[in-house]
Symmetry: C2
């Protein structure tokens, strides 16, 4: 640390003071213009490998270079800006998030974490922090999974060795365009593989996408655990029949059975919250065949989402869904099936990262509370290979994946102060 | 009656004997080839005003002329073949059905009634019947409503004055092609308006589309009433939210509410059958928005089909559906709406037509039972302007609107014998 801070100032406090809301806002607004969607709110569509994504990446690379960071792009398009002042040795600490969006998503989901990480490094430099470790600012490719990888978290899955570079590059969108071709097309198919296991620690700031912070009037939430997620496909096969000529007692109505299933899933999740408030169960999609007013439904396919920070709750809810289908098959003479596909275990965040973020909040004079994340994030993958922490900023009305997604600029800056303090602590 | 029957033979019996199964079958098989769909079963797609429809109409016109009938085509393409031997005066009796199909429909739904009517006239001539009234063989345009008129029953609605010629001709398909242009394109835009009110009586033979006749081993069903039909659109508006970050107690899940509605409609219909076995209630279509596994459903739209031969039952079931939505709106904090759109009253068939059909069955030595029609038919419209009767032939496994729709040729011939006897009795 140089003497610009004086001898008795906590470097975290100096960093918090050095966070520049206007500079952060300008980056986020500029980034929000790429793929901007006309209409109400602040929408953008930035799918991986598109022109809008190229523009966002080029602007980001330029801003990393403006701040004096060394930029590298790996084979799957993950972008890393590295700040390694003399004396910063050993394993780096890293922070970031993603720049891609869902179709007509908001301007904060992802970019806040990326540009807050960059602003944290700029603030550390401005405050004269002299870190013991290099600091890396990261943007992962295709976090949302809106184009190539339905499950999302693509770039982090490669950076953590969960998926090979080859498998990732071969993923194709609905038109058969591969990730490799798309990245080459926009000039962001780099070399090598970003390896998250080489990081000493990782932090990600993200909008909360819910109302806990807003309703309590707290500017920062330190994530204790990222929820586990299971997606199940449930099907009910009855018999399609004429709605007029088929009497009530001669029916095998797939939708009536599916309707009971939907309420069974809801009831099981409600009951589970008595012992595990983080447990949720949702039938989010339901498709009827043939889906005509005058035909008794013959088949229903449903998508079930089950989450909790406790694996036992997830298994319990999936079991309850299976039991419901078994009962319905017997009672309603229908065939049922449940396939448990996508399955991510709950991920606790590292104690030392949570502590560093709380230290960052203290240094900035901001309140922070503990909460869990009900959404998946790249940090779930990173936590498998190194110490990871996550921080939430308030989301207005909890809205996200929507042009109405909003976080006040002051809240963005405050959360960035907490992140910067945490990063400074970890880089000491 | 001429002396070919001898003096002591019931003309109905002679007509029943004269019905020629092979001749009927040839017509139905030839007709089934127009718009034939490859694959299993006997499928055909014959939408009004298409090339396949032109082929079917041209073949039909030719067969009417072969049988010595005078053919007329009205402004909306209804085709009538008239048999008016010397001495046949006064208001005609008529019989028929329709030649159009649903997409990938079967070869009996419609054509059986058309060609059975023609076969009945041929049998009457062969048997030397000398009717007191002219007999008309009719094919109505667009009964299924698969191209121009979503509610179907188009040609009969014009023939009964329920809809004007102008309104009918102006109906357009999904590509903006009007019925008028389509009929002109295939050469079946005729003159004037077929007026069903001028008929003394009307009979229609149709496949049952259910299993009552098959399960009882009876070859003919005399329809007592054609069901009334109401279609309602029900909507539930909740709030779409992230399935992970929205806790169970913070949700306004439109699908959970809709699921309760589906089972409420089923329960109300089941209960109603205790006093009215013909009552049915079906939620046939259900569409979820945004319909993604990981999003709490925000909106659900449903199509509800309610039928009975008793108007009171229909009103009761629609009322139960409304009550259900009101309860759900209150308990689940969602907005609900129910619109009663399409609405046809139950239609009793005329006593004298039912009697004539039973006489026809007796003369042919065939058993006939009474049953109601749960499906809509052109006869519903015709019954509003003259005496109408309907006859059902067995449907294998009750399947219709499907290439697997099937009625054995012997069953086709037997039902035609009953129809021919009934027509002979009405034309006396």
């Amino acid at each position: 640390m140089d003497d610009r801070n004086g001898g008795d100032t906590d470097p975290n406090e100096a960093v918090a003071t050095a966070v520049d809301q206007a500079r952060l806002r300008e980056d986020l607004e500029r980034n929000g213009g790429f793929g901007a969607v006309p209409g109400e709110g602040h929408g953008r569509t930035v799918l991986a490998g598109t022109d809008a994504n190229r523009e966002a990446r080029e602007y980001f690379r330029g801003r990393l270079e403006d701040a004096g960071l060394t930029v590298e792009v790996d084979s799957v398009g993950n972008v890393v800006g590295r700040w390694a002042p003399p004396g910063a040795t050993g394993a780096p600490v890293a922070a970031g998030s993603h720049l891609d969006s869902v179709p007509e998503g908001g301007i904060f989901d992802g970019p806040l974490g990326v540009y807050a990480a960059l602003e944290a490094v700029r603030a550390m430099r401005d405050a004269g922090v002299d870190p013991a470790r290099p600091v890396e600012v990261v943007s992962f490719t295709e976090e949302e999974g809106a184009r190539f990888a339905p499950g999302g978290l693509l770039g982090s899955s490669v950076a953590t060795g969960d998926r090979s570079v080859e498998d990732a590059l071969a993923l194709a969108d609905g038109d058969g365009v591969t990730l490799e071709a798309a990245l080459e097309g926009i000039g962001f198919r780099g070399e090598g593989r970003l390896d998250a296991a080489e990081w000493d620690a990782w932090l990600e700031l993200h909008v909360e996408q819910h109302t806990v912070l807003e309703s309590r009037g707290v500017p920062a939430g330190v994530v204790t655990d990222v929820t586990g997620i299971t997606h199940c496909e449930a099907t009910v096969e009855g018999e399609a029949n004429h709605a007029g000529s088929t009497p009530m007692d001669g029916r095998r109505d797939a939708l009536c059975a599916a309707a009971e299933f939907v309420t069974d899933v809801e009831r099981a999740a409600n009951e589970r919250t008595e012992v595990d408030p983080a447990a949720v169960g949702t039938v989010g999609s339901l498709d009827v065949s043939p889906n005509a007013t005058n035909v008794v439904p013959g088949r229903v396919e449903m998508g079930v989402d089950v989450r909790s920070v406790e694996r036992e709750s997830m298994d319990h809810l999936v079991g309850a869904a299976r039991d419901s289908l078994d009962r319905l098959a017997e009672r309603r003479d229908v065939e049922t099936d449940l396939t448990r596909g996508f399955d991510l275990h709950p991920t606790p965040m590292a104690e030392r990262c949570r502590g560093a973020l709380h230290d960052g909040a203290d240094a900035a004079g901001l309140e922070a509370i503990d909460l869990h994340s009900g959404a998946a994030h790249d940090s779930m993958h990173v936590a498998n290979v190194t110490d990871a922490g996550m921080l939430f900023a308030p989301s207005r009305d909890g809205i996200s994946h929507n042009p109405r997604e909003w976080t006040d600029w002051a809240d963005c800056a405050n959360a960035t102060r907490v992140l910067a303090g945490g990063l400074t602590r970890l880089a000491e």
